[in-house]
């Protein structure tokens, strides 16, 4: 199968996947107890007023009608072209706001956190994993494995809190929350990633201030995720280092670093790449606990908040977008396979 056919097939397969996901969420949200209409009322919660609200939100329609209304909105190309995001309906809590707009306004914060976290996790995980495999069964191997297990097991909010206390409260080096200093105006929106936008703006202060906010949540997530990469890298490197082509490379007199990183790691990298893709896609759905711990205004906090409000449309929208992320990242990972392993022909 050619590359183009493969990509097209993958994209087409996305549609039933998303449909299935959306249907499951649609049904589950309506099975859960709780009523989005009740949250709009307190003292004046008359049955008539609540019914009128139910009508306004479209909740008085049969379930199948609500379902197809929603699907119809998503495939509204005109809306997509006009707004730059799909029609995911109006929020049931803030009834004047589009869910699509809400999700895409929260996305840059999540994306920025995900990128930096993955960079940190990859650097720590791969370097330590390689180091452990090179010193198999030595003290440093045991220490690195121990580190990997601990970081994998430690709750993210606990590690976040510890880092906040050390680097935020006691040392005062970094900020304990938010995306930028309260007294610094965020950079003009280009990508929505403050560190990038501040550099594009040529404002070094904003870059430093946004970096001071970004570092602790990224480090927290990065350290937590690094545990998986350490173990995966170590295991795969141990297997690869035993293969004959590594011995052959050494016999040709290549430097050890070239053999390790240029030959062995490249061959051991495929499962790590898969894991990186999977983890990155998960992060794009919002790192709920990290975002909450660091008051990071991303998708994770958004989803939790909307669940509390039984904001059906918002949760459905978030799931659709999340499904798209996972599909897209999986596709990219598959394409990267071809680069890292020339034996693979898609």
């Amino acid at each position: 199968m050619g590359l183009r056919s493969y990509v097209i097939t993958r994209i087409i397969l996305t549609i039933p996947t998303l449909l299935l996901l959306l249907t499951a969420v649609f049904v589950m949200m309506r099975i859960l107890p709780g009523d989005p209409v009740a949250l709009h009322f307190e003292k004046k919660a008359t049955p008539e007023a609540m019914e009128q609200m139910r009508h306004q939100l479209g909740l008085d329609k049969p379930l199948w009608a609500q379902y197809f209304d929603y699907l119809g909105g998503i495939v509204d190309i005109g809306y997509l072209l006009q707004h730059g995001y799909p029609n995911l309906g109006k929020s049931m809590q803030v009834t004047t706001e589009d869910v699509g707009g809400q999700i895409f306004s929260a996305f840059p914060a999540t994306l920025e956190l995900a990128i930096y976290s993955m960079i940190i996790a990859s650097i720590i995980g791969i370097l330590l994993g390689v180091a452990a495999s090179k010193s198999y069964n030595s003290v440093s191997d045991h220490l690195i494995r121990g580190f990997g297990i601990v970081t994998y097991a430690v709750p993210v909010f606990f590690l976040g809190l510890v880092l906040q206390l050390i680097f935020g409260v006691y040392l005062g080096w970094f900020r304990t929350g938010l995306r930028i200093s309260p007294i610094v105006e965020p950079p003009a929106h280009v990508t929505g990633l403050y560190t990038i936008d501040s550099l594009l703006e040529g404002n070094f202060i904003k870059f430093v201030e946004s970096f001071k906010s970004l570092l602790l949540p990224s480090l927290t997530l990065g350290i937590i995720l690094s545990g998986v990469f350490i173990r995966l890298t170590r295991t795969n490197m141990l297997e690869t280092l035993r293969l004959e082509f590594v011995t052959a490379a050494r016999a040709r007199g290549l430097k050890e670093d070239t053999v390790t990183f240029g030959y062995a790691l490249r061959n051991a990298f495929l499962p790590i790449l898969t894991m990186m893709g999977l983890q990155f896609a998960l992060l794009l759905g919002g790192a709920i606990l990290t975002e909450t711990t660091f008051s990071w205004p991303g998708l994770g906090r958004y989803i939790v908040d909307r669940i509390n409000f039984r904001d059906y449309t918002a949760i459905q929208g978030a799931v659709v977008v999340f499904g798209l992320f996972v599909t897209f990242v999986s596709l990219v990972v598959d394409l990267l396979y071809a680069y890292f392993d020339p034996r693979i022909r898609l």
Binding site: G34, F41, Q164, P182
Partner: protein
């Protein structure tokens, strides 16, 4: 740790290398850095950064907004005819805001107000009586046009209370009410009575948040100490609100606001907020730092803790339409076994006070009526339940519900209530919880035996508390014509002594009927840096930022 340092060093090196790749860029950066630092430190002296876990729920339209934080922002940027005097112990001593004097007819159905002269709206127009009439007429007209009503004015019953508003002359306005209503000043002081600017408050149109346009996001007339200069929301939640001193504020010649700029930053929870104030990321943390953090912070020399009264109350509702709580003796037995002091001391570490009337401590009409039932009064509990056949072998069993994520520390409270009730030896409590959405649905479906609820008043008057004994929307299915008659008599009387007596009588009936049990009233607290002054925390819990200096 070594790795962390390596990563940090690498990142710093990378960006440093990029930055110095062009010497002219570096020179520009240094200059801009110096300028920015100078600006930053100069502005720091006149800027108060406030951290909060609150958020504007929906809008800053006085007809719509019905949440504490939204009202608090509206208080800074708008104006009402009268206001509660800062530091008030009762919440019912009023001072003029946009009005300078007022009087009412003897039967309190007609109220005349004289307006302050020379008050400028945002576009230079002078405030006059037509603005007052427009504001109230618009709010009342909006009520039937929206499914949930214009929440603020609908919930306060503006459409029932107001008959009409009349312009007497340029600076005189008259309110004619449908019935005698003595708490009227309280209504006028609340933010639902904020005066709007017709230019930004279209008739029959609710004003909502408008991205990148703070002025268009509120219909309020810019007559308060501050103007709303920035309101950023991300995904329907506040990210930053910035207030700047209003140069046209009528009280500016007296030096208000004392701090020129207020920046609100929004934290996800109490822990995050506590860390932010501890780290010095914000100048002030208000609503909410957890009560159990306050004792710790009081010993921290880097922060200052401010405490004051409050009007928030919590109470226990009973479902009276079915057993076991369809019998007032059962309800009384349960209330007698409660231990309020244990909750206020253990959970709130003394920052809350036991409440023995539905009207909070300090407010006109407050009594200690429920004290007659005692705290952890197991003798009374056992005696009452014995009459109904309950004993150690046949315990009274019921579900006690509490909501999660809505009020403070309800899980801890409920556990103590359960312990106290079961301490009687004749009660068995099954604790149940639900998130706020499900909890309200359960309330409406009347499936909860006993359930915790809270109340923060719309206006500072016993009139906005006493009705909780029989409020229909609480779905307790309790009603009492005598209490309602006393309530109506109290709200129509301007005689404070008589009102105190009437509310006392309502409380006395409540003690016999026990439809609702007052639990505690919680004060307010704020944490600031040591160089912050002028925080007034009174019964209203209103934070008046224009009085704060640093």
């Amino acid at each position: 740790m070594v790795l962390i340092v390596i990563i940090l060093s690498s990142a710093t090196m990378y960006y440093a290398t990029t930055a110095i790749s062009n010497i002219s860029i570096l020179s520009d950066q240094v200059t801009s850095l110096q300028n920015a630092l100078n600006t930053k430190f100069a502005s720091l002296e006149t800027t108060l950064v406030v951290g909060t876990t609150d958020t504007v729920e929906l809008t800053l339209d006085p007809a719509q907004a019905y949440d504490y934080f939204g009202w608090n922002i509206m208080q800074q940027i708008g104006g009402t005819l009268v206001a509660v005097n800062p530091g008030s112990a009762t919440g019912t001593d009023f001072v003029g805001d946009l009005a300078t004097s007022w009087n009412s007819s003897i039967d309190t159905t007609v109220w005349d107000f004289t307006l302050r002269t020379g008050v400028k709206l945002s576009d230079g127009v002078t405030l006059n009586a037509t603005h007052i009439k427009y504001s109230f007429d618009r709010s009342i007209a909006l009520i039937p046009s929206i499914p949930e009503g214009a929440p603020a004015t609908a919930n306060l019953g503006y459409d029932l209370i107001f008959n009409r508003t009349e312009v007497l002359d340029t600076y005189k306005v008259r309110f004619v009410l449908n019935f005698p209503f003595s708490p009227f000043l309280g209504i006028l002081a609340c933010r639902a009575s904020g005066i709007v600017d017709p230019k930004y408050a279209p008739w029959m149109v609710q004003v909502n948040y408008t991205a990148s346009d703070a002025r268009a996001s509120t219909p309020l007339a810019s007559v308060g100490p501050y103007i709303l200069s920035k309101w950023d929301r991300v995904a329907g939640k506040d990210q930053e609100i910035r207030l700047d001193a209003n140069p046209d504020y009528w009280n500016a010649p007296s030096g208000y606001p004392k701090t020129k700029h207020i920046i609100f930053k929004f934290y996800s929870d109490e822990t995050a907020l506590r860390l932010a104030i501890s780290a010095g990321d914000v100048d002030m943390a208000y609503r909410n730092v957890a009560a159990n953090d306050i004792n710790d912070l009081q010993t921290n020399p880097n922060v200052k803790v401010w405490q004051g009264g409050g009007a928030f109350i919590q109470y226990l509702c009973f479902q009276t339409k079915r057993p076991p709580f369809n019998d007032p003796r059962v309800r009384m037995a349960v209330i007698a076994a409660l231990n309020r002091t244990a909750v206020t001391q253990t959970v709130f570490l003394g920052l809350a006070k036991p409440l023995y009337s539905i009207i909070p401590i300090g407010m006109l009409g407050h009594s200690e009526a429920f004290k007659s039932l005692g705290d952890a009064n197991y003798t009374l509990t056992r005696s009452l339940l014995a009459q109904l056949g309950y004993d150690e072998n046949h315990k009274l069993q019921f579900d006690l519900w509490y909501p999660t994520g809505h009020y403070q520390q309800t899980a801890e409270q409920s556990l103590l209530y359960k312990q106290a009730l079961e301490g009687s030896g004749v009660i068995s409590v099954n604790l149940k919880t639900a998130d706020w959405s499900s909890y309200k649905q359960n309330r409406d479906n009347e499936i909860m035996d006993a359930y915790i609820y809270g109340w923060y008043p719309d206006y500072m008057d016993p009139d906005d508390y006493a009705f909780l004994y029989w409020a229909g929307w609480l779905h307790t299915n309790y009603s009492n014509a005598t209490q309602v008659a006393l309530y109506n008599q109290a709200r129509s009387s301007a005689n404070a002594t008589l009102r105190i007596q009437l509310y006392g009588m309502i409380d006395n009936i409540a003690v016999q009927q026990c439809s609702v049990a007052p639990l505690f009233t919680r004060g307010a607290w704020a944490v600031t840096k040591p160089n912050v002054y002028g925080v007034y925390l009174d019964i209203t819990e209103d934070m008046r930022y224009w009085l704060i200096s640093k």
